[in-house]
């Protein structure tokens, strides 16, 4: 009889920090202690706190261990699993210092600041069930939404439920999902249901976590979509760079077919639906809907003009709906709990919750799901644990290469689709990159533009040529050769590219430049007028110097300099040769007396 479950995260984050070895070590240790029959190991999807991985949770107590290593396993088994004494030193607790040991005892998952403010709908099963076991999904009401749809609801009811729920596409653009389904429902003949799992924004990993942690939710929702629009075939377009997600999807598909939840005559209702996987080869543009469908057809992944929209003429020229992974993950819950339940969360025009991948200069890197309308401040300061090393928050970037930045002055903006558009950013798929005072905003805009230049498919001229011209101007500015007219040129070019590009990639590519120009124009001007990078990032505008009053002549800097740019006798102040210096910063990092500064 099992008395305790040990959940080990098997998401990509924790897998890379060694959770697989942990699982093996634990299994061996349990066997050695004769506990295999009493304690069950469960591999789950992402818990969200990727920065602290590998993560292990012990139930029934709900003890939350972080950064567990294989050396910790014997202690966890002999102390906690055998004798019931929680291993305090491994318990995640951000308040340890403040309140001491009194606090260290029962740190259950839901009590931590990181989880307290979250509301998990799309992620409800991530980190709770074993994603490779369909029975555990069923235990959490899995496939009951499909059963309800097939036995109690008409196609119109399903679409109306989605319309009433106010669910909007979680892939970024925020188009009402119910509308999309309604258009496709009205089409005739063969139709298709597609899932966009080609998550490509730098720093975004929401969809990966859903696929890894709860793949059946996506399959179930796609079958519901098939019923609603009258399709019998679905495709999941998932990037090949997500091997764990692909593996778990394959297992999930096989289990669902074995149980008759996919295939012919599902649940004896006469409805048939099956799903195939298509692996993307890593082109960012294939996340754009028309390019994605072209790629599924076996052609080169290039976008085409819209209209006709996919709901009219999509995959193989047939009516098709294409939704994002996170959108699908919400749907079974909406069907089971009703549209009113979903619409009760969020803001007036943005209902429900949104998953964000928190990254950058933030204490708790990871995955969070919050109701729409939560402010940036709550996400960063409370859930994210603030900026590390006492630095100041400067801006947050949302929407990846298509989005823009939110400056510190707007940190109290409630986050939803419309508010973000209004302040010149966008929801995007949910990447949220936090930046502190050490980030140069011109350099940031350059980073994203480099990405889009690389990823432009080249089909239309504004995107292919225009983004390169913009990047050239940015390079000129960061190298100290910029002129004030360049800023006007940047803006002019950006607006042409936005209005003339064929697909979403080009239409949004200038956004990072436009939004940094809007909120951080002074930084651009400092680069141009004063030839200075205020954040100290742009190398061409920096020089490293040694303060002779502080330098003790210890020679450490001269020894770490990889190019021999530092000279000076022992016990006398050293000097840096600006001609030789490559501005790597190694000397500054090593100096024990703070004698080296950059300006």
């Amino acid at each position: 009889m099992i008395r305790s479950h040990v959940l080990i995260c098997g998401g990509t984050g924790c897998t890379s920090s060694g959770s697989a070895a942990l699982e093996k070590a634990l299994a061996a240790e349990l066997a050695a202690n004769n506990l295999s029959e009493e304690i069950k190991i469960v591999q789950t999807g992402c818990f969200g706190l990727c920065a602290l991985g590998p993560i292990m949770i012990v139930y029934p107590e709900g003890t939350f261990y972080s950064r567990v290593t294989t050396e910790d396993i014997p202690e966890i088994v002999s102390e906690h699993l055998l004798k019931g004494r929680i291993v305090d030193r491994l318990v995640y607790n951000k308040n340890d210092d403040a309140e001491g040991e009194a606090h260290a005892v029962h740190t259950s998952l839901s009590d931590t600041d990181f989880y307290k403010k979250q509301k998990r709908v799309a992620l409800r099963n991530c980190g709770v069930i074993n994603p490779e076991n369909i029975d555990e999904y069923i235990a959490r009401d899995g496939y009951f939404a499909l059963a309800k749809v097939l036995t109690e609801m008409s196609r119109e009811d399903v679409v109306q439920t989605l319309l009433d729920s106010g669910l909007r596409g979680r892939g970024g653009a925020g188009f009402p999902t119910g509308q999309k389904w309604k258009f496709a429902m009205n089409g005739e003949g063969q139709k298709y249901v597609c899932c966009n799992a080609d998550e490509g924004d730098p720093g975004a990993f929401m969809d990966r976590s859903v696929l890894e942690g709860d793949p059946h939710a996506v399959l179930e929702a796609m079958a519901i979509a098939g019923y609603a629009i009258g399709a019998d075939q679905g495709y999941i377009y998932v990037r090949a760079e997500y091997p764990i997600a692909v593996h778990r999807l394959e297992i999930a598909l096989q289990q669902a077919r074995e149980y008759g939840l996919l295939g012919d005559n599902i649940l004896d209702t006469g409805f048939q639906f099956d799903i195939q996987l298509r692996l993307g080869a890593g082109a960012f543009v294939c996340g754009e809907e028309t390019a994605l469908m072209t790629s599924i057809e076996g052609k080169r992944g290039e976008p085409r003009p819209r209209p006709p929209f996919p709901a009219v003429k999509g995959l193989f020229q047939r009516p098709t709906i294409l939704n994002n992974v996170e959108t699908y993950a919400n749907i079974p819950q909406i069907i089971l709990n009703g549209p009113e339940w979903f619409a009760s969360m969020g803001t007036e025009k943005s209902k429900g919750t949104k998953v964000f991948a928190l990254g950058g200069k933030i204490t708790n890197t990871g995955l969070v799901e919050v109701p729409m309308g939560t402010t940036l401040r709550e996400i960063i300061e409370e859930i994210g644990g603030g900026i590390p090393n006492g630095k100041k928050f400067k801006a947050a970037q949302t929407g990846g290469p298509s989005g823009g930045c939110i400056p510190a002055s707007l940190i109290d903006t409630p986050i939803d689709y419309d508010n973000l558009l209004e302040i010149g950013s966008m929801m995007g798929s949910g990447g949220l990159i936090v930046m502190d005072e050490d980030t140069c905003m011109v350099d940031l805009a350059k980073f994203f533009l480099e990405f889009t230049v690389d990823e432009s498919c080249g089909k239309c001229a504004p995107c292919r040529i225009g983004t390169v011209r913009m990047l050239e101007i940015l390079n000129k500015i960061t190298e100290g050769n910029g002129e004030m007219e360049d800023l006007d040129k940047l803006e002019e070019l950006a607006n042409y590219i936005k209005s003339a590009s064929l697909c979403g990639l080009g239409q949004t590519a200038p956004n990072p430049v436009l939004s940094t120009l809007r909120y951080f124009r002074d930084e651009y001007e400092a680069h141009i007028k004063e030839k200075r990078c205020p954040a100290g990032v742009c190398k061409k505008l920096l020089s490293y110097n040694i303060d002779p009053d502080k330098c003790k002549g210890c020679t450490l800097c001269a020894r770490v300099c990889p190019v021999g740019a530092i000279s000076g006798a022992v016990k006398t102040p050293h000097a840096i040769d600006p001609e030789k210096c490559i501005k790597c910063g190694a000397c500054m990092e090593k100096c024990k007396f703070g004698a080296i500064y950059k300006k």
Binding site: M1, I2, R3, S4, H5, L7, E38, Y59, P60, E61, G62, L82, K83, G84, R85, S108, L109, S110, V128, I129, D135, E136, I138, A139, R140, D141, Y143, F144, A147, T151, Y259, G260, L261, N265, L267, D268
Partner: protein, 123 residues
């Protein structure tokens, strides 16, 4: 699988097995599992509690867990029952047979088994 009832059967069968992870249960049965407890036979007692609680369909109300040494080693195996709004109940010198009765009469019936209580037991 061809029917909704089969799907429901799987859910019923699996529910208890996953329920442990919600960490719920307003009654906590805590078994002392330090060296003293284990040598006095606490492990079969713990396992009996887990089995009987599941058999009695009490898993959503009762959480069975273990703890370290309580300090009364001569009375081991010691089992404490915590319930919201009620005073803690301490059973001593427990055996699997006694555990069965505690599940039946106390956890299910709501009445502590007085003869196993610490106040009524002589060394």
């Amino acid at each position: 699988m061809k029917s909704l009832s089969e799907l429901a059967a799987i859910r019923e069968q699996m529910k208890d097995k996953v329920a442990i992870r919600t960490g719920s249960g307003n009654i906590r049965v805590v078994v002392g599992m330090a060296t003293c407890g284990i040598s006095a036979g606490a492990r079969p007692v713990l396992n009996t509690f887990v089995e009987e609680v599941a058999a009695a369909n009490l898993t959503d109300k009762v959480m069975v867990t273990q703890t370290g040494c309580i300090g009364i080693c001569q009375y081991e195996p010691v089992v404490e029952v915590f319930e919201d709004g009620k005073e803690k109940v301490t059973y001593v010198k427990m055996t699997p047979e006694k555990a069965k009765r505690v599940v039946e009469e106390h956890l299910k019936g709501g009445k502590p088994v007085s003869e196993y209580l610490i106040g009524n037991t002589k060394l």
